[in-house]
Amino acid sequence: MLKKVLIANRGEIAVRIIRALREMGIQSVAVYSTADAGALHVQLADQAVCIGEAPARDSYLNMENIISATMVTGADAIHPGFGFLSENHRFAELCEKCNIIFIGPPSGVIEKMGNKQKARETMKEAGIPVIPGSPEPLNDVEEARRQAQEIGYPVMIKAVLGGGGKGIRVAGTPEEFEAAFLAARAEAQASFGDGNMYLERFLEHPRHIEVQILADSQGHVIHLGERDCSIQRNHQKLIEESPCAAVDQELRENIGRMAVRAARAAGYVSAGTVEFLMMPDGTFYFMEMNTRIQVEHPVTEWVTGLDLIKAQIRIAMGQPLTVRQSDVKVRGHAIECRINAEDPERGFRPCPGTIRNLYLPGGCGVRVDTAAYSGSEIPPWYDSMIVKLIVHGEDRREAVARMRCALGEVVIEGVQTNADFLYEIINHPDFQAGRTDNTFIERVMEDIHESETGV
């Protein structure tokens, strides 16, 4: 049994974990940087230890100090939350070596799933559909053309050392292939000094679908349905919901089975997420596995009625799952909005500062996860997410309406936030109709831009 758990994180997730621990009668130890001395998680926890200076590498990423804090406070386990050290296999390994329970999967699993190529191979072997692509780096155009034929068009050509959108081309047809490949290779050669390329099937308008899974150390694995996280800006999720409007029961069972198979293939233990890209016709491909609790876990909690943090802790204590797959029922519809301290008017630039005044909605079907309070500081050093607003309704329509009402009540003074921007998205006809994919935000932003400039 755990008596005391150290939370190697900050912000709302630290608060969320402290609350779960308190309910379970387990003492909590907060760690904090010098910039977070007044933070809510520090005040809420039973104990708090300062682990370093404001920059994350000196504090929340400072493995040595976190381990020291664990030793000093006599904690038996560390909950890493998300971000920071949560998917650092070295940290997990270090905990293992020091006999500290790491509330998450074994370090070996984190390492394997953290390596894209290894993860892809593992899944392919387990019979899980992966995005078709070239197994080895390519340089020769003829060989590439042959592989492109196998992969199927449209095909994306990506530089092995790619980044910043350079060295990427899409060939829609075999006729376009040679020109696209040569252009991408030349660009890659010029930008990265390496002309080795990868080919991958280009997926148009996919949805980002992910399946929550729970696995205990006795080998039981269940899935808790899917989440649709297609509303993203620059690969940052903004709005997540469960279930996905485009997934019916059959597809849910199918994709859920695949997620369970993926978790088994990875040797997974603890709560985790298997991410897929789903095409309009319902075909889906494995993208990656997240070996941590996720920001958007509350939507799954609400539709399944399970407490994922507590489940994680129980699994870490070696207890078997108390629910079977057949017990899992998805009920109603939940939506989460991430309210960030950022300025949509200025390119979503982060807006650190002090929250002068705060009013957050409540009432039936509304949940708020936050570490913000009137007078709290938003330091410039960390993620800008300050509030997670989650609603639940009998169906999607009710959930959307409830989110609109709730967002309309949000008052945050002192720092700029994206609350109004989220409000606009919720009111967008395409969102209301559930017509969303990975490019949704781009389209909405173009619309906003056009209406503002009068084009």
């Binding site: 308190r22 003492q27 005040q43 809420l44 682990i51 493995m63 040595e64 381990i67 406070t73 020091c98």
Partner: protein
Amino acid sequence: MNLKQVFKKTWPGQETRDVEETLRPEVPVGIMKKCNHCRAAVMDEEVKEHHYICPKCHKYFRMPAYARIRSLADKDTFEEWDQGMTGRNPMNYARYERKLDALREKTGLDEAVVTGKARIMGHETVLCVMDSRFLMASMGSVVGEKIARAAERALEQRLPVVIFSCSGGARMQEGIVSLMQMVKTSAALKKHSEAGLLYISVLTDPVTGGVTASFAMQGDIILSEPGALVGFAGPRVIEQTIGQKLPAGFQTAEYLLEHGFIDAVVERESMRETLAFLLAVHEDKGRNRAAEERFSGSGTETSGMEDAETGGNLRSRQEHADTGGILRSEQEYAETGGALRDGRKYAETGGVLPDEQKYAELGEILPDEQKYADAGAILRDGREYGETGEIPPDGQEHVQTEAQDQEYELSGEMRDAWDRVQTARDRNRPSGQDFIDNLFTDFMEFHGDRCLGDDRALVGGVAYFMERPVTALAQIKGNTLKEQKQRHFGMTMPEGYRKALRLMLQAEKFRRPVICFVDTPGAFCGVEAEEHGQGEAIARNLYEMADLKTPVLAILIGEGGSGGALALAVANEVWMLENAVYSILSPEGFASILWKDSKRAGEAARIMGLTAPELKKMGIVERVLPEPEKLTKENMMEVCGSLRTGIEDFLGRYASLSGRELAELRYRRFRKM
């Protein structure tokens, strides 16, 4: 708002504590260590994977010998020598053997140094690495023996030696025997060096005492890791012995760099690449050794020049003559020779060059033909000699001057001399560094005169010119005021000349051509410069350069101020950019000495004959390179283009000459003036 007291806790009564306490024993031993610099706890594994560098403060941990070898040598290429060698206890020092046994068990090492042969990025070398964990890597008989043997084997196999030093000095427990190791290692390395082989010494924290005072400081090239403590007497010894207060940063690698004792401070992450580069630069030995043997071989009758021709390095004499430069045909020589043509003219100009008869006298300086041949020189009779352009020919009429002058008339009218002086001094004119960067690749700067300091007014190092290693030297004035101060406006200090000489002798040892970019108002004049022996330094350069057995090319790119410039211009050929100037003194100085009025500098410039066309006419320089109206960094490509062709041609023409021939040609070049 302090909510801490408001919230109900799971377990009341615990206080918030700041963590600064020591680790509890639950953390397994060896997983973490403490950095001695930033005091932070760091992961042992992370440190090991990153070259033993603290991930927090980036200071260095000392590196175990085998870890160092793994980080340098290509996989599975290290072949260890003299493994298991153990020594005696010459002084019967109490418990010495037991101490050594304990250390062997603890460290897994036999002794304080590991020696052997390895490849570093494909370049074969002897590699010796000391390990501080073994009695502070002090040098006893075994360390001395292993290093000496490594040097001897390197000599047998004609391999370079790289030694990573790290040592407290001579090993006290072995007494006088340890002291003798200093000589043993030095002597072995000297033999190795005498065979023209490379020794790179790399200093790592710390190097003191008898190791500093022997092999660590004997490298052809001395590198150091940043922050390494390097000295003879340790700081504590100095403070306790004479009570002197030590300056900040005393005896660090950086301090030594500034004081002229090491060539470069190299980060651990780039050590492997740096060594590979240096080994590659010095690896091109095959051809040079052949050349060396050819000329040092007993009773060689073949003329070097003929050899060179058959070797394909030199074109036919005629072609050769056509290529311009100093080795022209007799006729050409006559045409370009300027003032010194025949005895009469000679007398008129007050120059030095004799007519043919006088030449005969000159010839007497050189021994008779046989001796001359023995000396390895090539030029047996006057005619041949003349053909190579070396012999001052008899009085040929100066018929084609205009054609010869064409080169510098390309840019139009002759510019006023004073105008050229100001152009040459223009701050926006490209510096020697700019020429180095444009003409060469992979320039690596070597610092210091190994005596007093590192003069920033003179930059030198190795580089590749069209894939061939060269030694490049440049006088640099600096662009910004800060830089100008650092480089004292390009006025070279004695330290600068000594550094230049050191690098030229290094070039001579490794048969690298030397290319000097001359640009200085003059040698630095000041108390410090005098105290450091400015006159002696210049004199020494003239003396040694006259006899340097490698091709030397000097290019005047800006101001060629007096002896300060000459100390880099004792070359086989001297070239000038069109608007560069070269003179006995600055026009201001000239005017003030002769007319007691420095304001008449313009007038002085006009009569001093300091411009490139005038100097070419006088035969002081061989070539004038045209430049645009206003030469800047931006438009220097064209000048660099002609320089590149010119240097390629120069190197081609001199490549096959022996060291003695090169020195001889240089001797005659100046002898005629």
